[in-house]
Each structure stands twice: as C-alpha cells, then as structure tokens.
C-alpha cells in the first residue's frame, strides 16, 4: 500500500490543484444542493424537509419545467449536429494545406473566444431584429423577414445560429484529427476510383470517429448547459413567450429571482441526470461506430 502510494505520489501531486479545488470548493456545495433539493428553502429561513415534494411538483404540475425541457432539447437537437457539421466542413476546407492556414485558424476561432458576451448579444440583436442585417439581405432577394428574436417561433433558431457561428473549438479538434489521417489512404482510394463523397463517408468519417465522438460528448454537455447567450438575448427572462426559456435560465430564475433554492437544486440535479444519461448513451453507442486504431479485439 505504502509502495503504491509512493509510486503514485507524483500523479497525485499533479492532480492536487484540481483535487483541492474539488474537495474544498465543489464537493460541499454539490452535497448541499442534493440535500436542498429535498427541502423548501428561501435563503432567509432554514431549509424545511419536504421529501420528494420538489420533484413531484416538477414532473406533475410545473408546466414551465416541461417548456424549459422542450426549449433545451430543441436547442441541443439542432445546435450540436449543426455546429459539429459546420466545424467539420470548415476544418476540411482548412485541411487543404493553405499557406495562410494559421491566420484562418485564428480568424475562425475568434467567435468562440468572444463567447457569449454583451457585445455578441447586441450584435445578434442587430443582425436578427426586424430592421437587422439579415432582413436587409433577405429584402434584396425579395423575401420579407420577421423579427427573428422577438418571434417565439424563430427566436430559438437565432441562438442555434449563434452556437453554429461559435464553431471554433470543435473545428480545431477536427482539424487535428484530419491531420492525423494518413494521406496515402486517400491516394490509394483515388487510384481505386473512389468518388469524393464515398471517400468522405468511407474513409474520413470512420477514421475521424474517435474525434467526432469526443466533440459530440463535449458539445452535447455544453449545449445542455447553455446559459449566457440565452440569458442575455432574452433579457434574463426566457422571453418571448418562454421560447428562450433554457433549462439553465429557468433554474437561475428560480434560484436567484424567486429564491426557491430547494426547487432550483432539484432542477439542477435533474439536469445533471439528463446530461449523464445522454453521455452514457453516447458511450454505449460508441462501440458500434467509433473505431480506434490502437485497440485490439
């Protein structure tokens, strides 16, 4: 035991910043929130134990909870595949061996660096408002646009577009993955008369599967947790007509606007379980579509 500890000591030493942070800062609040999720707590009086009450209310009577789920799932379903597809498409363009690739990489990564700032929210409002740039462009080809952000039917898709626009980090990971595919495989395929699309589906995609899988898991978790962009663009309310009521926005409002900390904690745990289930599903499915070159079977 002593020897094992001594052997692993450097590992633990390197892990220590994270371990310290986790045990001192994160673990306590996590356990507290689990406890609070079974209580009614307004931050003024002491928490009162109500058993499964919060969860029961959530699933049986809270219509906004279901709306928040609907909004979040819609967002995840569109934003994740579109962002990944767009990131992959750009990565493939950049992989063509341009001399100025470094510059393009930086430019394309820029939107991701800007994150969900106020500036981006204002930019998005400018782009998608009734008199915004998008509508001006549409007008040029004779299409009359709507006010994309205040229209409950379209508002979520402006956020999907924002997510797609911030494709930088999966793009960089895809680019690294594409660089890792030996060029002579494509040459062999070229000599074998493999059409471009088949080269993509039969060589690029399968060989990129580990990277696609990694990006998929990361982006799915990220999308479920999306908060800032929705919060800023909907002015923190989830408006219009709760069409931007992301799960996290709803959770935030319950906690810090209405001070229903117990209920907000229960919401947080439900979100954690949802993310856990989706991640587990991704991992379970991976053995059918992810090929690792170095595993042995």
């Amino acid at each position: 035991m002593k020897r094992i500890l001594a052997r692993n000591a450097p590992g633990y030493l390197f892990l220590s910043p994270w371990l310290l942070g986790f045990f001192l800062l994160a673990l306590g609040p996590i356990l507290a929130s689990l406890y609070l999720s079974f209580t009614r707590y307004d931050m003024v009086s002491d928490p009162r134990w109500i058993g499964w009450g919060n969860y029961e209310y959530m699933f049986t009577r809270d219509r906004r909870f279901w709306k928040a789920l609907e909004v979040t799932f819609t967002y995840v379903a569109f934003a994740v595949p579109l962002r990944l597809a767009f990131a992959l498409a750009v990565a493939m363009l950049l992989d063509k061996g341009l001399k100025t690739i470094g510059l393009y990489r930086a430019i394309f990564y820029l939107p991701s660096l800007l994150g969900a700032s106020i500036a981006i929210a204002i930019l998005w409002r400018e782009l998608f408002s009734a008199t915004g740039v998008v509508n001006q462009m549409l007008a040029l080809v004779g299409i009359e646009g709507t006010d994309w952000i205040t229209n409950p039917k379209t508002s979520i898709y402006t956020l999907v577009m924002l997510a797609v626009w911030q494709f930088g980090s999966p793009m960089l990971i895809f680019l690294a993955g594409l660089r890792g595919i030996p060029k002579d495989l494509y040459e062999a395929a070229e000599i074998d008369g493999t059409p471009r699309w088949r080269r993509f589906t039969r060589i690029t995609l399968p060989l990129l599967a580990p990277v696609i899988f990694f990006n998929l898991v990361l982006q799915t978790i990220d999308a479920f947790k999306t908060f800032s962009s929705a919060f800023i663009i909907s002015n923190g309310t989830g408006a219009p007509a709760d069409s931007l009521l992301f799960f996290t926005v709803y959770l935030f409002n319950e906690a810090f606007k209405f001070f229903r900390m117990g209920y907000a904690s229960a919401l947080a745990w439900v979100l954690l379980i949802i993310i856990g289930v989706f991640t587990a599903l991704a991992f379970l499915s991976s053995k059918y579509w992810v090929h690792y070159d170095n595993d042995r079977d």
């Binding site: 030996p182 002579d184 495989l185 040459e187 062999a188 395929a189 070229e190 000599i191 074998d192 008369g193 493999t194 059409p195 088949r198 039969r202 060589i203 399968p206 060989l207 599967a209 090929h291 070159d293 170095n294 042995r296 079977d297």
Partner: protein, 356 residues
Amino acid sequence: MAGLELRNVGKSYGSLSIIKGLDLDVVDGEFLVLVGPSGCGKSTLLRMIAGLEDISDGTISIGGKIVNDLPASKRELSMVFQSYALYPHMTVAKNLAFGLQNFNVPKAEVQRRVEEAARILQIGQLMDRKPRQLSGGQKQRVAIGRAIVREPQLFLFDEPLSNLDAELRVQMRAELASLYNRLGTTMIYVTHDQVEAMTMASRIVVLRGGKIEQVGTPQELYTRPQNLFVAGFIGSPKINMLAAKVSRSGGAATIAIDGMPAFQLPGLATGDDALTLCVRPGSMHLGGGDVQTRGKIILVEYLGNETLLHVALSSGQTLLVSDSGRSQYRSGEEVTLGFDLADLHVFDSAGQRVES
C-alpha cells in the same frame, strides 16, 4: 497489360526541377525497377505515372494512350504503397473488395477476384481480421492483394518492402518475383535497394537528380556501367575506383596510378589524360593479375561465404578485395594484390565510360 511511354517528361515545383526531360519506354509485360539514391525523383516519377502528381512537361502514355490529363482511377493501374495504405477500419476482405465496388463490379465477380487474390497470396485465413491484427508481411500481402483484384494493366510499387525486416524482405522479394512470373503484367517498382533491383528487374533504370543515368538489364548495369555513378551505385561491395594519369607515346597509352607500377592499356578510345579506373572487389586477385602491387590489410570482414579485405596501398588509398569464406588472411598482413586488364572499367574525366 500495357506498355508505358515517357516522352520528355518533367516535373518542377516553382523553379525547382525534380524530373528533367525524361524519355523511357517500358515494354508490355516488363518488370522495370527505378532505383537511385534518396531525392533522385524515383518516387515522384512513379507518382506521376500513377496520376497522383501533375506532369509539368512532356507526355506519359499507357497502352498507347496519352494519360497526362486522365485521373488516377482511369489509368487502369494499381499501386502498392510503402506504408501499405490499408484502410485500418476495414477487414482484410473489405480492404480487398473496396476498390472493385467503386467500379460497379458485380458482387459475384468481386467475390471471385477477392478469393483468387487470397488464394494466390495465401491470406485466406486472415479475411476477417483488421490491419492492426496483421504482421508487417501479412499487411504487405494484403496491400498486394488489393492491387491484384483490380486486374490492372500496370502495377506500381513504391518501395513496398522497405518497412519489413531483412528476412521477410528476402522472402517477399521471392514472392513478388513469382507473382510477376505468374501474372505477367507490366510492373514498375521503385526502390533504393540495389539488391532488390538486381534480383527482380527485367530492366533497371538508374536515376540521379531527376535524370536517367542508365537503363539496362541487371547484367548490363553490372558488367558495363555507362558512367562512374552507375559503376559506384550498382554492385555490393562497392567497386574500387582509382584515379589514373595517362601518358601517350606512339599508339600506346601508359597508365600511372599512385601506389602502383605504371602499366600499358591498349586500345584506349579517348584522348583524355585524367581517367578513373574501376575494378570490382570480386575481380581483384591476391598474388596475381596483369597489374600487381603490394598493400597492407587493415581490416578483415568475414561475411560467411566471402571475406572482405580492406587493403591499404602505399599511396594511402584503400582497395576492397573479395576473398573466399575460407580466407586465412589477418589484419596487418602484407599482401600482393592485382587485377586483369580485361576486368577494368575505364571512365573519362567527365565520368563517362571509355571503351578499352
């Protein structure tokens, strides 16, 4: 099957010229080996024939048809890569069938050709394995199998054996040679290994700096190298090179080499008076020969069936002498060594062969 014609073929990247005005005819059914030191352009030339590199100048024809603008897939050729280039996520069977499926070959025909290739290469028991579960030699067989199933009119090999260990290389060399005998298809084979070139080729093309130095059968290259580069490149152990001065009186040419007695060389067809004389280590004699000198053995390399003696002349130059495996000579011994005039290869100051 098809022949191949290269006419004034060139390749350059910007101002850098890799292949320079190359002419070459490959006869239908020939096993042609492109050999040369690294950077000589042999792989580039093969890739140009394959259609993986553009041609900057000249024309390439396969089976009488100019293919300059034809994509690789339409040139009816197969290529075996140095890295094997097997699709790592596909089984051996799928790797073999993949190319055929692109050409809409009927399923039964794909099956037949895959089985035939598996039988020829004895990889039938590997069909359900992935490339990572194969040894180097097995991967190479699959790569060759993938080329065979296409039934191409031209096979291209880009240093296919260089990733294998020495023993396997010898074995695969023999297998490739017997495959060639069996298929009779035109094959173009790139290697930097002159032993591979000598043992497999119908004809060898020696390349240097993007130019052809000599084209010929292995015997022609060995017995009549056209220039100093080919003389030095072909043959192992390496040929001995001696710098010689010529003086003429009447019709006879007298040769003076540092560390050796002067001798006469009849019928020398050059006016050049600075020559290089070359003798293969196997043509050197210990204690005999038309021209003889003394030297000191400084190194003995025992190779089993032969022994290589490094003999230093009084001039300081070292000559290689190939003796039998039963050689009793020891390092430090003084010996008489010599050669026959008939075994001399003579080259002028420009490095070109001179008949003597």
